[in-house]
Structures are given as structure tokens and as C-alpha cells.
């Protein structure tokens, strides 16, 4: 069966006849319910408009609540009213047409030229707004009608819905009369479709009343009814409409009628859009502005973005996440509570009917929660009815079975910035109440475990499950399409663990090696006789597939001349035939975003092997780091007295130099840098000097902390933190800045940052240089400056997230319809516009590319040559 598809949607303006035709009842009274709580006939809650209370039936279609979509009613307006959304267009039309004969204020030949131009552009799919604008511009300035010779008076449009001809205000009735005269042949010149709209329809004479299903009333706990905002507004309209009618019939003076007319206009305007400029928004009794039609559609929570583009789903769960390195990266630990609630459909056939029956009869975990009969009825499986259900089970039914190990689910963390934010995992039902995941999959989700929550979705169709497995599984997302490198890989302890394991020539006995590899299933080591010790590199080699690589590690010092294999820092990694011969494993080898080894395995052995490798890496690394014992505390920032002295002298020297600069500046002997003022030069020099001092202090601290310090290990291996963080903790925090400059704001009139300083003090301390370290603690003044600098950082992050979020939304909106065609071109789907002849000029998938290169030529040549 081919599912039905909507071909297209056409937009037109409702005509008064159309409104009356689709209406099931005329609404005349503003009352909604009578004293007994029954809806009043011809009132706003008329039962003909549909049902919202369960149990009742619709008087029009007989459907129950949920079945009946609701039906429109209508209000006959006592006097015509301008449509607020079209007021601007009405104004333009009035100015573009003759006040007497209603024709366009240009000659027919010229009009036809414009119409042809518009037609041409329409056909090409181009925007014809410019041409229409031109028509309005020319006609507005016309003084005399070229058709009847009548002189024209410019009509002024006043927001939101008023028109003035000179001093005289045009009533909507006048407006409507004029619009009626506009010829069908002229409409295309205004960009209007004569089949879709008549200009006079933009002045309303009859108002459609939306069905009650659109504006359901809610019953409060007190039993009171609370009506929807739209109902309130409609009540206002009907009330004024009735008053206008009564007054007109009673022959009230014109002035009163006009006032009522204006009031009616106000209510209709705010009913359509309660945020139009120029008039105060209609308010609820509590003072809250009403949410009327436009407000329902607009904005993030509006109908379009909130309810239509993003929909609510069933079969989903949300929980806090926590790490579990014993899981594979392709798995997710699901709490048993959730697994018992969420279900997987099992489509009953002759072949699996016994299995299905078993699920129904079971009374613990993987059991059936519901049975769905072919007629669509869902029956909950309970102890009382399970025997009966099992008996009646037949092919064609669906049972909803509790989720169990091996099921595929989608796992997601917001903000979903890229496609790796939703990946499919295989379920492992686990005790306790959090979702568990291997920390190596944190980078694509950008997750951590400080209280992050994630969502899980259970695909219900076989197609959906197949797509989840084949397209979205974690192993297929290891390479990022952003840059064609791995985005999943070891983080934090994985990196430090392997670094500790492989650094230098640590020795392990047979027992130790087995215990390190135990979790990988190793029971014993097959090896040549007499081998007593294994080095860390050999242990790592045991989990490596057969690959050959050479590269510089993260810890590479960037020596002027690389000694390659003979690197004194052991920073040159050599892997040959799956054996790690030289070098230390660190972030560059196995880390997310960088991992060269991961990249290589991916290309040589494919995604599953890579996933297994990452699993092995996490296991081994965790074992290694636990075996070694790894901790970090405040004592690790301790530096000897000698280092403190050196640091102090470095900073003092720098401060002295800053003093000198300031003196030179004051005496006017400071040489300005080209294109900079004296003051700017001074600031730059000071910043530079203090920056250098901080770096030097950091170097000293780093030297005294040594390579065995936990923080140093983490920083150099790329596991976490940087040498700058360490510098700030152990040596000196450095200059605090606002907008890239030293802190200068404060008491402007005395030109100082704090009252602790002399006016005009430019010294390092007075402008936010913090010479203490975090460990030593800050002086009150330093603390204050540090808070200033820290606040800027916070504001920066807050602003950036909103800005980049909007940028991403715009990018997605602009590019979402681009698709690669079978011929390799890129086309925009809605307009069919050709964007690229060949995607990316070579048609290569960035994800499959080798860091941007189409084909890894070097590798292929290497392969060919070694085979020979």
C-alpha cells in the first residue's frame, strides 16, 4: 500500500460567503452557559460547534470528544470592520486606485507590462515583491486618474486600522465601497491573485467563530469554568456588536454609533493580533494581556515552532546520567524502572506466537504490558486476564513487551547541535535509577556527570529500528562529518591511564599483566618461555589490532630538530604491525577529536573493530590507573621555598619594569608604537611584560613540580587541564582583564579603580594584576579584580550561547532543503535550484575523507608497496 500524501496546500482569503457557508450556526448572544451549566444555543459554546466534554456527542456530526474536529460558526458584524493584518495593504490599494472609478492609476499598457513582468518572475520562481512595490510607488504619486480623469487625494494610513483622506476619516464602509470597485484585471498588478481574493474581503462583514475545540474552557478545582482567551475576546465582540445593532435600530446619534464602531474595530483588531502597535493590548481581568490568534501562532512556543515543527512523543524517558566504564560505548544502561515501563512492539506471527505467549504469561521483568488487537484496542496485561489473553492471542496482534537487553534505543542530550547528539545504543537493563553510559561517548553528546539528564526514545516500527541500527548506531558516528576525524575516544582517566602505563619502561609481572587485562577476558598469557616481565608498551600492544603508524605524541616538546625514534621525551610514537615500539600513548593517540590510532583502525578495520578497540582502551586504561593509584589534592600544588623565591623575584622584576614604563610615560620619553597612541603603547607594553612574568613563574613552578605530579601528568598528556591552570594554582594568577584591557573602570572622577589607590595610579596592582596563586589565596583587592574578570567570562558565555544558537537556527533553516541528487549535484528541493554541480567540488563525503583529503593516497601507496 502506498501511503497517501498531501500534494499541496493553497492559501486564499476567506470570502464572506465562504464564512457563512462553512458555518454551522450564527452566534448572536455573548452568553456562554446558562445557570444550570448547559451551553446556550446560538451562544459561543453552542453544542453545534463541537464537543470538548468527554461523554457528550457533537450536535453537528455526532462524533464524541476526540473524534469531532469541531465546526465553525459565524458572527454577522453590524458594521464592516477593517482586517488589521491587511490594513497596510488596503492603504496601498486605496492610494493606487482611483477614488471614483476604482481603476489603477496607470494606463492599461503600462499595467500590462508590469503584470507580464510579475508573471515572468513567478514562473522563474523569483521574488516579484520589487515589481509590486514599483507599481504602488508610481500610482501613489498620480494626481489624476488616467481612466476617468478624477483628481486624486492621498490617503493617509494611520496605525493600526485607520485611513484619512485629507482631514476626513474613512469609515470601513467607505473603504469597502472603494475596494469593491477595483477591477479584477488590475489585481495581478498588485501581486494579488483574483482567484484567491477580492479586495473588499479585507474589510470584514462577517466573522468566523472558531470551534470550541480550538478554545476549550477548563474547569478549575473550585468547579468554576475558566474560558479561553479567544472566547473572552469573542464575547467582547458580540457584546459590542449587539450594542451597535440596538443603538442603530433605536436611531442613536451618529457620534455614539461612531464610538461603538471604533470600539468594535478595536475588539476585532485585538482578537486577531493583540500586539499591534498603536493601540493598548486587550487585557484579562488580572491585567495579563490576552493571547489571541496571532500570539497563538507566533514565536518559539507558538503553533508553528512549538506544536507543528516540534511534536511531543510517547515511548520516551528522561533520567540523570552517570558513568559506567564496564559498558561498551555502543550500550546504554537503562534503569529497571524505566525498562519495565517502556515497551517494544512484538508483531505476532505464526512463527513467534509461542514466544509472545510466553511474554504474556511471565510475571517478572521481560513481560508483556499490553496486547493490541487488530481493531486497535489496547488491553493491559494483568494477572487476572493474562491466561485469557494468551489463549486468545493470534497472528496479526501486537504485544507490547517490556524493554530488555539488546533492544535498540535512541539516546539524546540537548542541545542537539549536531547529528551525533542523537545516537542509537543497545539496551542493558541495570539496577538503580540513572542512565549509564561509557565515558568515552561523552564528547559527541558534550555530556558530563555533574547532574546532566538525557532522553531516551524507543523506536516502535521495524523500519525505525532498522534505521536506528544501521544509520545511527554509535560505531557509525565515531568519525565526525565536521572534519573527518574521530569524535569518540578516550577522555580524562583513559588518557592519563594509558600515559602512565606506556610511559618509560615500567615492568609488569605475568600476574600483573593478567590482572590488567582480566576485564578484557584474558585468562592467561601465551608467550615464549622464560619471559618474566612485560613493559607497559607491550601490555598496550596486546589490545592493538595489526596497524603500523608513526607520529608525534601530544607530549612532544616541539624540539627544533626532531630526533624521531630517539626522542628523549619518549614523545615519538612508533607502532609496527600492532606493536607499540616507541613513544607514549596520550591524547594524540586515543583521545576524542585527535586520536590518530582510532582514526587508523577506523580506516583499516571499520567501525565495529574501532568500537571494540575503544572499549578495550577504556577497560585497560581504567585498570591501569587504578593499579597505579592516581589522585590530586591541594598538596600537589606545593612548591618548595626556593621556587617561591624565584617566582617572587620574577614578579618583582616585572613590577619594577612596569614602574619604569609608567615613569617613562609620565616623563614623555616612551616611544609610541606605530599607529598607536602613547597610552595604548604603555598599556600594551605593560600587558606584555606582566604576561611574560606569569609565564616565567609558571615555568618555574612546572619545573619544581616535576613530571610525576598528577596535575602535570594530566596537563601534558592532554587528559584534563593545562599548564596555565597549574600556573595559576601554584605560581601566579596573572592579569585580570575586561575586554582585553587591564581593569580601568571604577571611580571615574578620581581616575582610580579602588579607593585603596592614589588617583591616576597606573601600577600593576592598581589595574588588576593578581600576583598571588590560588593556593596562596588572594588579597581582598585581588579578589575583587578577579571577580570582575570572572564576571566578564560568565556574561560572555551567556551571550555567546544565545547568539550561536540563533546562528545555527538560521543556518539550518537556510540549508535544510539541500539534497545530494543521484547525479551528484546538490539541489534545493523546494525551488529545484542547482546549488553545486558536484558536492564540495569533488563529491567526497567529509566524514569519509581523510581529514579533508578525498583519498588517503599515501596510505594506498604504502599498502601497494608493502604487498609487493
Amino acid at each position: 500500500m502506498i501511503p497517501k500524501r498531501i500534494d499541496s496546500l493553497k492559501f486564499e482569503v476567506l470570502s464572506p460567503q465562504e464564512v457563512r457557508r462553512m458555518s454551522v450556526t450564527k452566534i448572536i448572544t455573548p452568553e456562554t452557559y446558562d445557570d444550570d451549566g448547559f451551553p446556550i444555543e446560538a451562544g459561543l459554546m453552542d453544542p453545534k460547534l463541537g464537543v470538548i466534554d468527554p461523554g457528550l456527542k457533537c450536535k453537528t456530526c455526532g462524533g464524541k470528544a476526540g473524534e469531532c474536529p469541531g465546526h465553525f460558526g459565524h458572527i454577522e458584524l453590524a458594521a464592516p470592520v477593517n482586517h488589521p493584518g491587511y490594513a497596510k495593504l488596503i492603504g496601498k490599494l486605496l492610494n493606487a486606485t482611483c477614488r471614483e472609478c476604482g481603476r489603477v492609476l496607470i494606463k492599461d499598457e503600462r499595467r500590462d507590462k508590469f503584470i507580464d513582468e510579475i508573471e515572468r518572475r513567478k514562473e522563474l520562481g523569483q521574488d516579484f515583491e520589487e515589481t509590486v512595490k514599483e507599481v504602488f510607488r508610481i500610482t501613489k504619486t498620480a494626481k489624476k486618474c488616467p481612466h476617468c480623469g478624477e483628481g486624486q487625494i492621498e490617503i493617509k494610513f494611520e496605525k493600526p486600522t485607520f485611513f484619512y483622506e485629507g482631514e476626513h476619516r474613512l469609515t470601513p464602509k467607505d473603504v469597502r465601497e472603494r475596494l469593491e470597485k477595483i477591477s479584477i484585471d488590475d489585481l495581478p498588478a498588485f501581486g494579488m491573485d483574483p482567484k484567491a481574493v477580492r479586495p473588499e474581503w479585507m474589510v470584514l462583514t462577517v466573522l468566523p467563530v472558531p470551534p470550541v475545540t480550538v478554545r476549550p474552557s477548563i474547569i478549575l478545582e473550585t468547579g468554576q469554568r475558566s474560558e479561553d482567551d479567544l472566547t473572552h475576546k469573542l464575547v467582547d465582540i458580540i457584546r459590542i456588536n449587539q450594542r451597535f445593532l440596538e443603538n442603530k435600530e433605536a436611531g442613536a446619534p451618529q457620534l455614539i454609533l461612531e464610538d461603538l464602531w471604533e470600539l468594535l474595530q478595536y475588539h476585532v483588531t485585538t482578537y486577531m493580533d493583540n500586539e499591534v502597535s498603536g493601540i493598548p493590548p486587550a487585557r484579562h481581568r488580572s491585567g495579563r494581556p490576552l493571547k489571541t490568534i496571532a500570539q497563538r501562532l507566533k514565536g518559539k512556543e507558538g503553533r508553528f515552532r512549538g506544536s507543528l515543527s516540534g511534536k511531543r512523543v510517547n515511548f520516551s524517558a528522561r533520567a540523570v546520567i552517570s558513568p559506567d566504564p564496564n559498558l561498551s560505548i555502543g550500550e546504554v544502561g537503562v534503569p529497571s524502572f524505566i525498562a519495565e515501563e517502556l515497551t517494544y512492539p512484538l508483531f505476532v506471527t505464526e512463527k513467534n506466537i509461542e514466544e509472545a505467549r510466553e511474554y504474556i504469561l511471565r510475571d517478572e521483568h521481560p513481560k508483556a504490558n499490553y496486547v493490541i488487537r487488530p481493531d486497535g484496542k489496547r488491553i493491559r496485561v494483568m494477572d487476572a486476564n493474562k491466561e485469557e489473553l494468551a489463549e486468545k492471542l493470534e497472528p496479526g496482534m501486537i504485544i507490547e513487551r517490556q524493554m530488555m537487553d539488546g533492544d535498540v534505543v535512541l539516546f539524546n542530550r540537548q542541545p542537539s547541535l549536531h547529528r551525533m547528539s542523537i545516537m542509537s545504543h543497545y539496551v542493558r537493563v541495570l539496577p538503580y535509577k540513572t542512565f549509564r553510559l561509557n565515558p568515552a561517548v561523552c564528547p559527541p553528546y558534550n555530556a558530563d556527570f555533574d547532574g546532566d539528564e538525557m532522553n531516551m526514545h524507543v523506536p516502535q516500527g521495524l523500519e525505525a529500528q532498522a534505521e536506528a541500527k544501521l544509520l545511527m548506531s554509535v560505531d557509525r558516528q565515531i568519525l565526525s562529518p565536521r572534519f573527518g576525524g574521530p569524535i569518540i575516544g578516550g577522555i580524562h582517566d583513559h588518557v592519563s591511564g594509558l600515559y602512565i602505563l606506556t610511559r618509560g619502561e615500567r615492568k609488569f609481572t605475568r600476574e600483573e599483566v593478567v590482572s590488567l587485562l582480566k576485564s578484557l577476558g584474558a585468562e592467561d598469557l601465551k608467550t615464549e618461555k622464560g619471559k618474566e616481565y612485560w613493559s607497559g608498551k607491550e601490555v598496550f600492544s596486546l589490545i592493538l589490532p595489526d596497524i603500523s603508524l608513526e607520529f608525534k605524541a601530544e607530549i612532544c616538546q616541539g624540539c627544533e630538530e626532531c630526533k624521531r625514534e630517539d626522542c628523549e621525551f619518549d614523545a615519538y610514537v612508533v607502532i609496527r604491525n600492532g606493536k607499540l615500539l616507541k613513544g607514549t600513548i596520550d591524547e594524540k593517540s586515543v583521545g576524542a577529536f585527535k586520536g590518530i590510532i582510532i582514526d587508523e583502525i577506523m580506516r583499516k578495520y571499520g567501525s565495529l573493530e574501532t568500537m571494540n578497540f575503544i572499549d578495550r582502551v577504556t577497560q585497560l586504561a581504567i585498570r591501569a590507573i587504578t593499579y597505579y593509584g592516581f589522585s590530586f589534592g591541594i598538596n600537589d600544588e606545593e612548591i618548595p621555598e626556593e621556587a617561591v623565591k624565584q617566582i617572587r623575584s620574577v614578579i618583582e622584576k616585572a613590577e619594577k619594569k612596569v614602574e619604569d614604563f609608567i615613569n617613562a610615560y609620565r616623563e614623555g620619553i616612551l616611544e609610541p608604537m606605530p599607529g598607536r597612541s602613547l597610552k595604548e603603547t604603555l598599556e600594551m607594553k605593560i600587558m606584555q611584560e606582566l604576561g611574560k612574568a606569569r609565564d616565567r613563574a609558571g615555568k618555574i613552578a612546572g619545573r619544581f613540580l616535576g613530571m610525576d605530579n598528577s596535575a602535570v601528568i594530566m596537563a601534558v598528556s592532554g587528559a584534563r587541564g593545562s599548564m596555565l591552570n597549574l600556573t595559576q594554582m601554584a605560581a601566579c594568577i596573572g592579569q585580570q582583564s575586561v575586554r582585553g584591557e587591564r581593569i580601568k573602570r571604577g571611580y571615574t572622577y578620581t581616575n582610580r579603580t579602588l579607593s585603596h589607590f592614589k588617583p591616576g595610579d597606573l601600577g600593576s596592582r592598581a589595574r588588576g594584576f593578581v600576583k598571588s596563586s590560588y593556593k596562596d589565596g588572594l588579597t581582598p583587592v585581588e579578589y575583587f579584580f578577579h571577580a570582575i574578570g570572572g564576571r566578564e567570562g560568565l556574561v560572555d558565555t551567556a551571550v555567546r550561547t544565545s547568539q550561536s544558537g540563533y546562528l545555527q537556527r538560521r543556518l539550518i533553516n537556510a540549508l535544510q532543503d539541500l539534497k545530494i541528487e543521484y547525479d551528484g549535484t546538490v539541489k534545493e528541493q523546494t525551488s529545484g535550484m542547482l546549488v553545486q554541480y558536484k558536492y564540495g567540488e569533488d563529491g567526497i563525503d567529509p566524514m569519509k575523507s581523510f581529514r579533508g583529503k578525498a583519498v588517503d593516497v599515501e596510505r594506498i601507496i604504502h599498502e601497494v608497496l608493502t604487498e609487493k
Binding site: G85, P674, V799, Q803, Q808, Q816, D842, I844, I861
Partner: protein, 378 residues
């Protein structure tokens, strides 16, 4: 001609790859047989590395550029090459590029000179003087003499010399632009005015704003030597005027104002400028983004010959689909206008189909093949 050409030409691989293979092969000097094997395997690798039909290339590109946006900084840093010029970088710059701002916050030009001027600092200075906007305050002290109702321009000879201007030139320039009489009096210029205080002050303001030499938009020029060649870096940009300055090698002159490039050099140049600027902005932040994604964005912005921004007034706002536009921004107006125009939404895009609840025409949703279900006979 290389001996490997005949081997390589058998395969329809893009030239860039061919060149790379050839270079590598020539380096190793392998036999033709090996070369054939390499070419064959490269071709196979190329085929497997191709993008799949139906792939949502646009969304992947949008995500690849949008996602690193969260990691970018907001601040204006110093330009990597010239410490003296501030340049907007990071997220604000990326937004500026994709918005196609007509007036970017920090326009900047890199001007290379013709051979004649490039080697000599003084010659380069000469060109710089022709480009840099010079105001009267740069070369003189200006005062109003209220008693005589004249403006006294006290010229600084050193500055004059540096700017390579003569008193007479300045006198003529002022006379011509302000349409008043200017006389020279022992090295000073006296600008005469009508006997009215108001007119004098107006004249004074005008004189201060008068560009005596150079191009108005270019506020500052910095000369730097790079690889025995003098290069001019300017703050402010005006590609069109700079192109006409003598001594400028226009073929090697660039600006970071993309809209200017579009106006002066056309759409292809604009496309390349968008790619160039976007990739350098991302690279400067240390973010790795494949160039194909940026190419796709640039091509979308320039596909119909006009440089359009990403957003409401450009690509996203000119979508054919009414529902897609309504879901993006300006919901109500889009719907009202569509009704008057009698527009039809053909439901061919993504958002539209999501809205009406149909499968989208991308990836697996784009496949129209259906297997005919027949019961196999036993």
C-alpha cells in the same frame, strides 16, 4: 607530461587527487604496473568515499558550522599579522560574514604593490599617502581667529613632508572644496570667511572633515615588510578607489569586506571571499571544519547570482514554501501575504512535511522503491 599520466587518465578522478598521486609516484619512481595498481585502488577508494545520493548535505553543513559556534570567543583580538590593527574575530565575525553586512565592524585591506613600488620603503610610503585619508588636523594646528573672523591653519612642516604634500596643494584643495578664499601667510594658511560667526564655525567644521588626500574610508595605513616586499595594511576599506591608485597591484589586493568584493568583482569573487573569510575565522579559533561545508554555505548564498545572507532577508526568507517561512520568522505576515497572493505550498521541503506530518524527502525518506510482496510458493 609524466609517464603516469596515461595510467591516471583512465580513471575519472578529480584533478586534485590526480596531481597528488602523480607527485607521490614521481617521488618514489615506481614502475608503471605499480602505478596502475595505485591508481586503481585510489579510484576505488574515491568511489567509496563519495557522498551518498539523498544525503542531507545542507543540514550536515549547517550543523558543522553551527556546532563549533558555541566554542568561539566573543572578543576582538589583534590581527595576527599586524599588531596595530584590531580585527573582529570569533563568533561576531562569523555572524557578520553569514549576514553579509554591508558595513562590517572592522574593514581591513591588504594591499600589495607593483614591483616598482614594492621594494622601496619611500616608494611604498608614497602609495600609502595616496591611500590614507589625510585631514587637516593631521598636518596642522587649526584655530579660529574670532577677532578677524578667519581660520588660521598652522601647518606642521614635518608632517607635510611625511605626507608628501605642499602648501600650495593644500591651499588649492581647501579653496576648491570650501569655496572660500585662502591666502598663504608666512607658512600659515588663512582661510577667510564671510563676516558671520555662524558661517565661520560651519566652515571650521567642514574644514576639519575635509579629506585633503587619500581615500575617505581608509583611516590608517600601515607599511610592513614581508619577504623583501613592502605590503600596506589599511584600517577601513574601499576596493574600488584603491584599485585606481597608482602603484597598487590590484590583482594581489584583498579586502575583508565581502559585500565590496561582490560589488566590485562579482559573484564568483564573493563566493570565494565568503569561503576564505569563514574558514580563516574558524581556523583562527582552532576549530577544524571541512571546507566542503563552508563551500556549500557560500554556494547557497550565491547560487542565483546575488549575494544573499543566511536569514530572514536572504536564503531562509526566500524559501518557496509558505509553511517553512512561517515556521522560521514573521509567521503572521507570511501567512497573510500568501493568502492575498493565492500562493500554493507544494510541500516539497523539510519543514513543510514535518508540519503536515509526512515523511521528509531526504535520506531513507527519499527512496520511492517498494518491493512487491508475493507469497513464496512452497
Amino acid at each position: 607530461m609524466s609517464k603516469y599520466d596515461s595510467v591516471l587518465n583512465k580513471y575519472p578522478i578529480p584533478d586534485t587527487i590526480k596531481v597528488e598521486i602523480k607527485e607521490k609516484l614521481e617521488e618514489l619512481k615506481v614502475t608503471k604496473k605499480v602505478a596502475g595498481e595505485v591508481a586503481e585502488r585510489c579510484y576505488r577508494a574515491y568511489l567509496t568515499n563519495l557522498m551518498e545520493p539523498g544525503e542531507a548535505a545542507g543540514i550536515v553543513a549547517a550543523q558543522s558550522i553551527g556546532e563549533p559556534g558555541t566554542q568561539m570567543t566573543m572578543r576582538t583580538f589583534h590581527y595576527a599579522g599586524v599588531a596595530e590593527i584590531d580585527v573582529t574575530l570569533g563568533l561576531p565575525r562569523l555572524i557578520e560574514i553569514l549576514d553579509v553586512r554591508k558595513n562590517p565592524s572592522t574593514p581591513l585591506m591588504t594591499i600589495r604593490l607593483t614591483e616598482e613600488y614594492a621594494k622601496d620603503r619611500n616608494k611604498a610610503r608614497e602609495v600609502a599617502n595616496r591611500i590614507e585619508a589625510t585631514y587637516i588636523v593631521d598636518i596642522a594646528d587649526v584655530e579660529t581667529d574670532i577677532r578677524n573672523l578667519v581660520i588660521v591653519v598652522n601647518l606642521d612642516e614635518k608632517a607635510l613632508k611625511r605626507k608628501q604634500l605642499t602648501i600650495d596643494e593644500i591651499r588649492k584643495k581647501i579653496e576648491k572644496s570650501l569655496k572660500t578664499e585662502v591666502v598663504e601667510e608666512n607658512g600659515n594658511l588663512i582661510v577667510k570667511s564671510e563676516p558671520s560667526y555662524k558661517v565661520l564655525m560651519d566652515l571650521f567644521d567642514k574644514l576639519k572633515k575635509l579629506v585633503l588626500a587619500g581615500i575617505k574610508e581608509i583611516r590608517r595605513v600601515i607599511i610592513r615588510k614581508e619577504d623583501d616586499e613592502y605590503i600596506l595594511y589599511t584600517e577601513g576599506s574601499n576596493l574600488k578607489k584603491v584599485s585606481k591608485v597608482k602603484g597598487v597591484d590590484f590583482t594581489r589586493t584583498i579586502t575583508n569586506n565581502i559585500y565590496e568584493i561582490y560589488e566590485v568583482l562579482g559573484i564568483e569573487a564573493a563566493r570565494n571571499a565568503v569561503i576564505e573569510e569563514a574558514i580563516s575565522t574558524l581556523e583562527e579559533q582552532g576549530l577544524e571544519v571541512d571546507i566542503r561545508h563552508i563551500m556549500l554555505v557560500a554556494d547557497t548564498m550565491t547560487a542565483d547570482g546575488e549575494l544573499k545572507q543566511i536569514g530572514r532577508h536572504g536564503v531562509a526568507g526566500e524559501k518557496q514554501s509558505i509553511l517553512a517561512r512561517a515556521a522560521f520568522e514573521m509567521t503572521v505576515n507570511n501567512l497573510l501575504d500568501a493568502a492575498v497572493r493565492g500562493d500554493r505550498d507544494r510541500l516539497s521541503g523539510i519543514t513543510e512535511n514535518i508540519i503536515v506530518g509526512q515523511p521528509i524527502k531526504l535520506g531513507t525518506g527519499d527512496v520511492e522503491l517498494i518491493t512487491r510482496y508475493t507469497r513464496t510458493k512452497k
